[in-house]
């Protein structure tokens, strides 16, 4: 402990921040955990007690293994520590087993693997230019960035209350971004390839990686006007990149290919049978679409334009993952969402190719990819918004315009995570932590950019302030009204529709700023 004190006393604010948040995570151990806790316990049991050939076939529990093989190996490694805590949690038949030692082990495994995240944040802080650094520590971009990342509200509640392992996965992504910023392209590519085989949701941002590496790494030079010089193509670089991706994939999928289980693995990874929206609607385009449908159907019923007997009774927000039939608007198929997503991603990809702006441009494109897939994807989880929020933090400390977009995106995105925690003891925690992060992020970025124009216009201010009354209504007023039984879906619908507006707005604004920005080569004096 004394050594620890010596380490922090030397003005080393970064380790103090990291240790502080780690301790906060430890305090969150006794909080509520969702079914994801059981999911991961089950995976520990599967990987520990069954041979590899059965990992993707086992279905004693409804929470079958549906992450790529590296994650399964990760659970396998964890299980070898877990057996010293409580052997019983490694039994596949022990459904919903949650002894206090199991809880302790699982919680600590998340906290411990977050070390990678902390390291990644440390590396990211090195990449941003500290030109504007003020005199005071609390006004330095690096300090602000590390608080925004380390103390991120979303990660705290999703990982350390709800229970998931996003911390170290995000760490891998941030680290690979940092490597690309540091011109260590091969390392960045390797890290991202590994990440893809940990959790395939990162496929959303793969186009940005692929194109950036092709454009800015495989082509070694540009023409003076910024367009690509075709004859500068380095075949060697392309081959080595391909080799990295191939080797990583072979390591991950090879064993299952040898067992000829690949189709089974893929059917587990991409369950298209699930509905358009997750149990709770992620605040994206489809949430708005569904909300519109619901409103239209209610109006239709009132005006007797619709026949009540023909309306499907399945309510989307009843808690189970199920199909939802639209009553008025046309139903949406996976193919439609795929096409929408691709169309939404395309402009940003074009930008990356025709207006290369170095790593910063890549980062913008990556965020746009993540956001666009969040907006239009099939069966999107509300947690996926973290995929855009965390990289966006890197941009926010660089430019006032980005900071403004970041704040809108983060505040609404984080608020949309509220329904994840619905138990009473966690209510104060989520409100306090949310306030903590929001107050800090808004005020510190305002201080950072105080010499430029204000971050929000009146409309944005009004919108963000509206989140307060919305929360009061959903959590404190609604449960005591008579609508509670009749319209139980109302708070969720309101939350996701309200947040969807903000996120769509942020997405749109970011797109506009990317498309209208002048190429960096003209603005920067070389």
């Amino acid at each position: 402990m004394a050594a620890l004190g010596v380490a922090t006393s030397g003005g080393n604010w970064f380790s103090a921040l990291a240790l502080g948040v780690t301790l906060l995570k430890c305090l969150l151990i006794p909080t509520y955990h969702s079914t994801d806790f059981e999911v991961h316990r089950n995976w520990l049991a599967i990987t520990h007690s069954l041979p590899v050939s059965q990992w993707y076939y086992e279905e004693t529990s409804e929470w079958t293994l549906d992450y790529p093989p590296f994650f399964a190996w990760f659970e396998y490694a964890l299980s070898h520590v877990a057996k010293y805590f409580d052997q019983e949690m490694l039994n596949v038949q022990n459904l919903n087993y949650a002894s206090s030692k199991t809880l302790l082990f699982q919680r600590f495994s998340v906290i411990f693997t977050d070390i990678l995240f902390v390291y990644a944040v440390h590396e990211c802080c090195k990449c941003i230019d500290g030109k504007k650094s003020g005199k005071e520590l609390t006004e330095k971009p690096k300090f602000i960035l590390s608080v925004l990342l380390l103390w991120n509200f979303g990660l705290l509640i999703v990982d350390h209350i709800h229970f998931q392992y996003n911390g170290f996965l995000m760490g891998l992504m941030l680290l690979s971004i940092a490597r690309l910023f540091q011109k260590r392209h091969m390392e960045g590519a390797l890290l991202f390839a590994v990440l893809l085989h940990f959790k395939h949701i990162y496929l959303y941002v793969a186009p940005a990686y692929g194109l950036y590496l092709l454009r800015s790494y495989c082509f070694t030079a540009n023409k003076p006007d910024g367009s690509v010089r075709w004859n500068s193509f380095s075949f060697f670089r392309l081959i080595s990149l391909g080799l990295i991706v191939f080797l990583v994939s072979a390591l991950s999928l090879g064993p299952f290919l040898a067992l000829s289980q690949l189709p089974q693995v893929f059917s587990r990874l991409f369950p298209f049978k699930r509905g358009l929206c997750h149990a709770y609607w992620a605040p994206n385009f489809w949430a708005l679409y569904n909300a519109l449908d619901k409103v239209l159907s209610v109006i239709g019923l009132k005006l007797k334009l619709l026949d009540p007997n023909k309306i499907p009774k399945a309510s989307m927000t009843s808690g189970l993952v199920q199909q939802f039939e639209h009553t008025v608007l046309p139903s949406v198929t996976p193919l439609v969402t795929l096409i929408c997503t691709l169309i939404a991603i395309l402009p940003s990809i074009f930008c990356l190719w025709f207006k290369p702006q170095g790593p910063k441009g890549f980062l913008r494109c990556l965020i746009l990819c993540a956001l666009s897939s969040f907006m239009f994807g099939w069966h999107v989880h509300e947690k996926a918004i973290l995929l855009a929020i965390l990289p966006m933090s890197l941009l926010s400390v660089g430019k006032a315009g980005d900071a403004s977009i970041f704040l809108i995106l983060t505040t609404t995105g984080h608020y949309s995570l509220f329904p994840l925690l619905f138990t009473a003891p966690e209510l104060p925690i989520k409100i306090l932590l949310m306030l903590l992060f929001t107050v800090y992020s808004i005020s510190s970025l305002k201080t950072l950019f105080r010499k430029e124009k204000p971050l929000f216009n009146w409309m944005e201010t009004f919108y963000l302030l509206g989140l307060g009354p919305l929360e009061v209504f959903c959590e404190f007023v609604f449960p005591f009204t008579s609508w509670k039984l009749k319209y139980s879906f109302l708070p969720l619908l309101l939350t996701s529709a309200y947040c969807a507006v903000g996120i769509t707005y942020a997405w749109f604004k970011l797109y506009v700023s990317v498309l209208t920005d002048p190429p960096v080569s003209k603005t920067k004096k070389q």
Partner: protein
């Protein structure tokens, strides 16, 4: 204040930590028949809500005083009544007479925890924030850091939100009192302190410094002119606020006497459980409790207490200053804790509060003291199953103090406020230059013993012959350190003005 947002952040961090600690177990959870302090507080709500005010402090068929009878002053009872009215609205079962005994449920726990948080948020936290904002000669950043450290003090958090009590109310009122009298709002200050006294009689530990400081102020203004007016005003305020709080009880003599008997249970013995004070530590070698008759024990403890706090108090009367006042609060409370009769382990919080207030002046020693004070309550916290939150909050507090004050760089004589003392010792002992180094070593040793003892208590089973071995050891070690701190703080007080005179000379 240009950095209000940093202060907001700090308050929010404090609140978050408080609420997360409150998710843990409380004292006496699921332990019939007596349960613990949590049940005591619930029981008081039941009693105050269902019985007429005249019966609150009396034994009756509806009010068994042996089962957590009300033994705090009226303000606590009123607070319980207020909480009971809220409880009645939510769930009448929680406060039903007789049948609610030992009531425990998740919802009830949530309610009780929320009452603590609300009281804290209304009384203690604003006082801390205001105190830090009023500090002079400090940058905003330092003020914020100071507030963070005070708000993260683990002892108070663990007792209020883990073990379950409302110390933040009485300590908060006391802090308002300190703020008042330090910034020339003497009447409001004494009113706030009277409220504190009427919330918990343990606030008497702080009463002498208040008395001496205010008396000193009156003397300073001249007892024949303005001083007398102030004195009369103060006396009126105190009497009025006391009468107001005791209104239902002062009408009959028997009522008032009964309340007083409940507040000061002199027949309960020299100390209870394992306390880190002199008497408990001495009893390792000498069973005073059994050797000496009861009234002798009371006399001895009274004499010792008086002797140890007298010098500081006398000095305060003749040289009243806000700084001296804060240090006298520390020594007086510490003397009471170490020597007085019927001390609880939780009473160390009364010493910790004024120590928190001098955190910015002597960060190294204050941090050390606050760590030891939390450690001294270890047996209690372990009994309540609070090991995890204890370790985490102590580490968080330590990191907060270490980073915001860089305490390890502040161990010179000057920064320990021992300069003038060392100079006067050096007149007789020229080689007396090793004090800072000795103190550093002592700190290191103290931290190591605390860590080791904690580890031993948690992992090892005590030998069958001495089932209390570890808790006695914890108390003994803490007691030694508290004695050391008592000497240290007295030295600071005694050599304080000399240093000022020296500074003036050098200027």
């Amino acid at each position: 204040m240009e950095k209000w947002y940093l202060m907001t952040t700090v308050v929010l961090i404090g609140l978050t930590v408080r609420w997360t600690v409150s998710l843990n177990s409380y004292s006496g959870a699921g332990k019939p028949p007596m349960f613990g302090d949590y049940e005591a507080q619930r029981h008081w709500q039941e009693i105050t809500f269902n019985l007429p005010i005249k019966q609150w402090y009396f034994n009756s068929s509806d009010n068994n005083l042996l089962y957590w009878g009300l033994d705090y002053p009226p303000l606590t009872a009123y607070h319980s009544l207020l909480c009971a009215y809220v409880a009645k609205v939510i769930n009448p079962d929680w406060i039903a007479l007789h049948t609610s005994r030992g009531y425990e449920s998740q919802a009830h726990k949530l309610f009780m925890r929320a009452t603590v948080l609300i009281a804290d948020l209304l009384i203690y936290i604003p006082a801390v924030v205001l105190y830090c904002c009023c500090l002079k000669e400090m940058s905003t950043k330092k003020k914020v850091a100071n507030a963070l450290c005070i708000l993260l003090y683990p002892g108070l958090i663990l007792i209020d939100y883990g073990h379950f009590q409302y110390n933040s109310v009485s300590l908060g009122f006391a802090l308002w009192g300190i703020l008042g009298v330090s910034y020339h709002w003497d009447l409001l200050g004494s009113l706030a302190f009277c409220l504190a006294l009427n919330y918990k009689q343990m606030e008497l530990y702080h009463s002498l410094p208040f008395f001496c400081f205010l008396l000193g102020k009156c003397f300073k203004k001249g007892l024949k002119g303005k001083g007398l007016v102030l004195l009369i005003k103060l006396a009126c305020t105190v009497v009025a606020s006391f009468v107001l709080c005791w209104l239902p009880f002062v009408t009959e003599k028997e009522q008032a006497l009964q309340v007083l008997r409940r507040l000061f249970p002199v027949d309960r013995g020299l100390f209870e459980d394992k306390v880190a004070n002199i008497w408990c530590s001495l009893s390792v070698f000498l069973k005073i409790k059994n050797i000496l008759p009861h009234h002798t024990q009371i006399k001895i403890s009274f004499c010792f207490t008086l002797l140890s706090l007298l010098p500081a108090c006398i000095k305060l009367i003749f040289q009243p200053s806000p700084k001296g006042f804060r240090y006298t609060l520390v020594t007086c409370a510490l003397s009471f804790f170490l020597f007085s009769f019927q001390v609880h382990e939780k009473s160390i919080l009364l010493v910790s509060l004024p120590v928190c207030l001098v955190l910015n002046e002597i960060p190294f020693m204050s941090t050390w003291f606050l760590l030891v004070s939390t450690f001294s309550m270890l047996p209690l916290l372990l009994k309540d199953d609070l090991l995890m939150p204890t370790v985490v909050t102590v580490m968080a507090f330590f990191i907060a103090c270490a980073t915001s004050f860089s305490i390890f760089g502040k161990t010179s004589e000057e920064e320990l406020q021992l300069k003038s003392f060392s100079i006067s010792v050096r007149k007789y002992l020229p080689c007396f230059t090793f004090l800072p180094r000795v103190i550093q070593r002592l700190f290191l040793m103290s931290v190591i013993t605390m860590v080791l003892l904690t580890l031993m208590t948690v992992t090892l089973d005590p030998p069958q012959k001495f089932p209390d071995l570890f808790s006695v050891l914890v108390c003994f070690v803490s007691c030694l350190k508290f004695l050391f701190f008592l000497v240290y703080f007295n030295i600071i007080i005694m050599w304080d003005s000399k240093s000022r005179r020296n500074q003036k000379k050098t200027d």
